[in-house]
């Protein structure tokens, strides 16, 4: 029998409009989770640019993770661009690396949660 663990809520689905991003804090975790709505679907990514080991925060301001045209997730440390569907770095400092996907679970009441606990990266 598996133990049902309630994973922390990240945001409400309706709070993330098409082409927008939210930076969601996870209790006890050093890194936030980026929730993005892209072509209707919600994607979760760890807010950790793979340029440096361990990852560094990517926003330039709270919830601001996109380039000006809104076409790519962007690390605003050095301007690296990431495909919003695959997380692959297409230009910049982390070329050939990719963002870490975070599986999301959408509840019937519209709450977006982590589908499973984040590994590592705990608050130091």
């Amino acid at each position: 029998m598996s133990v049902e663990v309630t994973l922390p809520p990240l945001c409400r689905a309706k709070d993330v409009a098409e082409g927008q991003t939210l930076g969601c804090t996870v209790p006890g975790q050093r890194r936030k989770v980026i929730v993005m709505r892209h072509r209707g679907a919600l994607h979760g990514w760890l807010d950790a640019c793979p340029h440096y080991a361990g990852g560094t925060p990517m926003a330039w301001k709270k919830n601001e993770y996109l380039n000006g045209a809104g076409t790519h997730l962007t690390c605003h440390a050095h301007g690296a661009l990431f495909d919003p569907e695959t997380g692959e770095c297409v230009a910049g400092a982390c070329l050939g690396k990719r963002l870490t996907r975070v599986e999301l679970r959408l509840e019937t009441d519209g709450t977006v949660r982590l589908a499973k606990a984040l590994e590592g990266g705990k608050t130091e």
Binding site: E64, H76, A91
Partner: protein, 320 residues
């Protein structure tokens, strides 16, 4: 060649509105800024210019995602411009503009401009401190801090570039433009200062693959560590993303605090950097946490002990 240091950095950006918000909140003053961009200046008139990346008035971009389009160096006099023109014309195109300034490119194709400096002379006090055994820095009843105290960038301090060959870069800036190497971080690269500036560095190279060529960060000098902490805390409290710091570097002794930005580079507040003259002998240290920093802190929302078990955490929009 009496080069003083960077007067301005020019960027071709993809979000003028975001950059305008960012640069203004960072503490730079918008000068003739419209939805097409403009200039954002520190207290001495140095600063950052932004245009849309497709603006035809901008110099040619590098073939990488960097948004840096030109570094503008201030020199002391027109004789210095003549000397730079003579030297660099030996192996590259140097264009003389109507106002007498020069445009060219460096050994890595970074666009450069040289002009008689537009810096205004600053007459301001440094942070004043009291310490036992030393004369008081502040008069009786003169307070060290107060809510709303000014903490504005005073002058453009330095630029750090990702370059494909730091040795080649150091040689070019030393041999062609008279820069001096003050210290070296291994394997990243050298700290450089131009002849007419005694700051520990106005330029630093970090060697990276060619596809990363561009600007790593730029920094503005603050009036002291308290101003740096105050300015950075204000920025962080408004939701801007701290990247590294606050802390204090070993080489240069400068306090630092780096923030992400929508200009594809870090913006740094620095304070209290060492000064050097030509008698200084360059040191070497590894580019490591121990090699680069005396100490490092990380910003958090203010917290204080209180009557309850959890203490009191700062709320949103807490006044200073």
């Amino acid at each position: 060649m009496n080069i003083i240091g960077p007067d301005a950095l020019v960027f071709g950006v993809d979000d003028i509105a975001a950059c305008t918000e960012y640069l203004t909140e960072f503490g730079l003053k918008p000068i003739d800024v419209t939805d097409k961009g403009g200039f954002f200046e520190a207290l001495d008139g140095t600063g950052v210019e932004i245009r849309h990346r497709d603006d035809p008035s901008l110099p040619t971009p590098l073939p990488t995602p960097t948004m840096l389009r030109q570094q503008v160096y201030g020199v002391q006099s027109t004789e210095d411009l003549d000397a730079i023109e003579t030297e660099l014309s030996k192996d590259r195109r140097v264009t003389r503009l109507a106002d007498g300034s020069l445009e060219t490119t460096d050994v890595f194709d970074f666009a450069l401009k040289f002009q008689v400096t537009k810096r205004r002379e600053l007459v301001m006090e440094a942070e004043k401190i009291n310490a036992p055994g030393a004369p008081a820095g502040r008069a009786p009843n003169e307070l060290g801090i107060y809510p709303g105290m000014p903490a504005l960038p005073r002058t453009l301090s330095h630029t750090v570039l990702f370059v494909p060959d730091q040795q080649k870069g150091a040689e070019w800036y030393v041999e062609r433009l008279g820069f001096v190497i003050t210290d070296i971080l291994v394997p990243a690269g050298p700290f450089l200062r131009p002849k007419a500036n005694d700051d520990h560095h106005t330029l630093f190279f970090i060697q990276t693959p060619e596809y990363m060529k561009g600007i790593e960060h730029l920094a503005f000098h603050m009036g002291g560590p308290t101003e740096l902490m105050v300015a950075g805390s204000r920025l962080a409290r408004k939701g801007f993303q701290s990247f590294w710091g606050p802390g204090r570097h070993k080489f240069g002794s400068n306090w630092f605090w780096y923030f992400n930005s929508p200009l594809g580079t870090h913006f740094e507040y620095d304070a209290d950097m060492d000064k050097h003259d030509d008698s200084w002998v360059a040191r070497q240290a590894p580019m490591s946490p121990q090699g680069t920093q005396m100490f490092l802190f990380e910003w958090r929302k203010r917290w204080s002990p209180g009557p309850g078990p959890e203490g009191i955490t700062e709320g949103e929009d807490t006044p200073e």
